[in-house]
Symmetry: C2
């Protein structure tokens, strides 16, 4: 077994309405059944007319580009300076939604194909029907990634083979069952194709020959590679998630949780704010058991049905400004509790008991 | 130009102290100058003795594994359930620090090579000195990534070629200068090698033949692929960054910023908490200009040197519990201001003015 990666030379400039199947079949009469075609998304976009006119330069160009980007964006994932990492309507997370200004006239921007899986299926079908070729097609693009410098080519669309090769359940030679080894082979194939395509030299198609598993009818598509944001540990940029935490703190909802709070978590939260609250202010965690045992008798009137309480008081003597500061410190504690996953509520004090406050947790 | 990807068959089990150069040169007498060897990190680790003994199963195994993981971890990036995404001492961000229990006895774990670039350099040097072969060497491993399902093989170490191919400054056929096109070619080569290696079939080395740019002396290594966390928009998991935001809110430092706050940002913060503060509590942004113009004369005694103020008061009549709640609401507003990037400080009210409070922003 061996693989070959071959360039398809001589395709030239592609424009709207071009017949990609004809261009490729003519440029590569040596194509065979079982080959995997890695097709740069840009020529797919151009053939499909996914271009927009923009001014060649100046602030008008930037404004037009921002508008195009907004149209291609399902949600913003992260931004810093002029960089925008967004999730596209396809579900891909990419800088600038994959909008590209290279290898195109200065007055145009190239958008990603509207449905790259459909583009791949259409090209595969055309090559099969009109040229009697049974090939797999990958529509590829260049992406960055977190944590590692440098870009790689990955698959936006695929037809004629599954996006993922699943090794789960296989047994290694030592008798261990393999876990977590679903390989994104179409991304590796797309990257392999890039090695021969280059960026400027008009080789928009590479052919990978000898890959087993290609050319079955599999319509799952590259869509199978899109991880749902709810399952992703990095669904938001770090700065954006940090700011969301601050916003959550600002609008913290009232209400203790349905279950008694973990005492260790409450203690950690109290410790976390100990240095920043007004000198002399002390918070004490009173557990459910202590409430039932009557240990909170010094503060008559607090609701005994609470699953737990944190009691606190500003240092005496208390004047109105101290009460304002004390309230701010209570809110700090509520936020520290939230960071530990412990919901809380500021309780209204019983009549006549004003220098002391309680959080239900 | 074309590339070939060839498997190196017959290497068999590798154990500590094995001479990888001899194993590879013997198994692949057909190697040539200019070839790129993609070597699975696991056999490098095994040859280098990067194995630890652990119980074959049970809670002792889990405890031992956790201890090994802690030793390999520079920092935890994200966790959910049993999943730990960590940054290793090399700088790589990987699940479980790349510790692997597959393709090894059940009583051992395989750690990553201690210095994969050095491993690659040593193997390249041995093949050159003892077998007169001038090849590039990539030490590869399998990694997951955010946003996309499936794993791919990438480079942990490299010798004999640069990790990145830099297209910046090249001009495309339309006259556009290429930006942002530093391609992580060693990752693409590692992924290409995986396509032929498989997971269970004892093909730990692939050879890529025909890649231009290989086999120069370049000692930059795969270290060049590690992005510094301070430059990374995803340096922490979303949940971790969100919790860090909550903790930051709990311990918010006092102090207005050095520059006047953006009035729009202050207005957004006030709007963000409007729904959650006590009914009747109103916050008003008083700008520097208004302070200088004497418009805050209704609150005599507030420091006029502040760059800006947010004034607020609890609804009358005011009792002590209202002041505590008002303090909590002020802290909510401070947090909302922080989410907008606006630092603030709770000001001590002037003597005699107790029902009103101010934040300096």
């Amino acid at each position: 077994m061996r693989l070959e990666i071959l360039p398809v030379l001589g395709i030239g400039h592609v424009t709207e309405g071009d017949d990609l199947a004809a261009l490729i079949a003519t440029a590569a009469p040596w194509l065979r059944d079982g080959d995997v075609l890695v097709v740069t998304s840009k020529i797919v976009s151009k053939a499909e007319g996914r271009l927009v006119d923009v001014p060649a330069d100046g602030p008008d160009r930037l404004a037009a580009r921002d508008e195009v980007l907004a149209g291609e964006t399902a949600r913003v994932v992260a931004s810093r300076g002029a960089t925008r990492i967004v999730q596209t309507h396809h579900g891909f997370v990419m800088a600038s939604a994959g909008i590209d200004a290279s290898n195109v006239d200065k007055t145009r921007l190239v958008l990603l194909p509207e449905d790259p899986d459909a583009s791949a299926r259409a090209l595969r079908a055309a090559l099969r029907e009109r040229y009697d070729l049974d090939v797999a097609v990958i529509v590829s693009d260049t992406m960055g990634r977190p944590w590692r410098n440098g870009l790689t080519d990955v698959a936006l669309g695929v037809a004629g083979m599954p996006a993922i090769r699943d090794h789960r359940g296989e047994i290694d030679p030592y008798g261990n069952e393999l876990h977590l080894t679903q390989m994104a082979v179409v991304d590796e194939l797309a990257g392999a194709g890039e090695l021969i395509k280059g960026k400027c030299d008009q080789v928009p198609v590479a052919v990978i020959r000898g890959y087993l598993g290609a050319t079955r009818d599999d319509d799952t598509g590259a869509r199978a590679l899109v991880r749902d944001a709810s399952l992703d540990l990095f669904s938001l940029g770090t700065a954006e998630a940090h700011a969301a935490g601050l916003r959550a703190a600002a609008t913290l909802a009232d209400g203790p949780g349905p279950a008694p709070a973990d005492p260790a978590a409450v203690d950690r939260a109290i410790a976390a704010v100990a240095e920043v609250v007004a000198p002399g202010t002390v918070f004490t965690h009173v557990t459910d058991q202590e409430v039932r045992a009557g240990l909170v008798a010094t503060v008559p009137g607090w609701p005994a049905e609470a699953t737990g309480l944190v009691l606190g008081a500003p240092p005496a003597p208390v004047d109105p400004a101290d009460l304002v500061r004390f309230g701010a410190d209570l809110q700090r504690l509520r936020t520290a509790l939230a960071a530990e996953g412990v919901p809380s509520a500021l309780l209204s004090p019983p009549p006549g008991s004003t220098a002391c406050a309680a959080l239900a947790v």
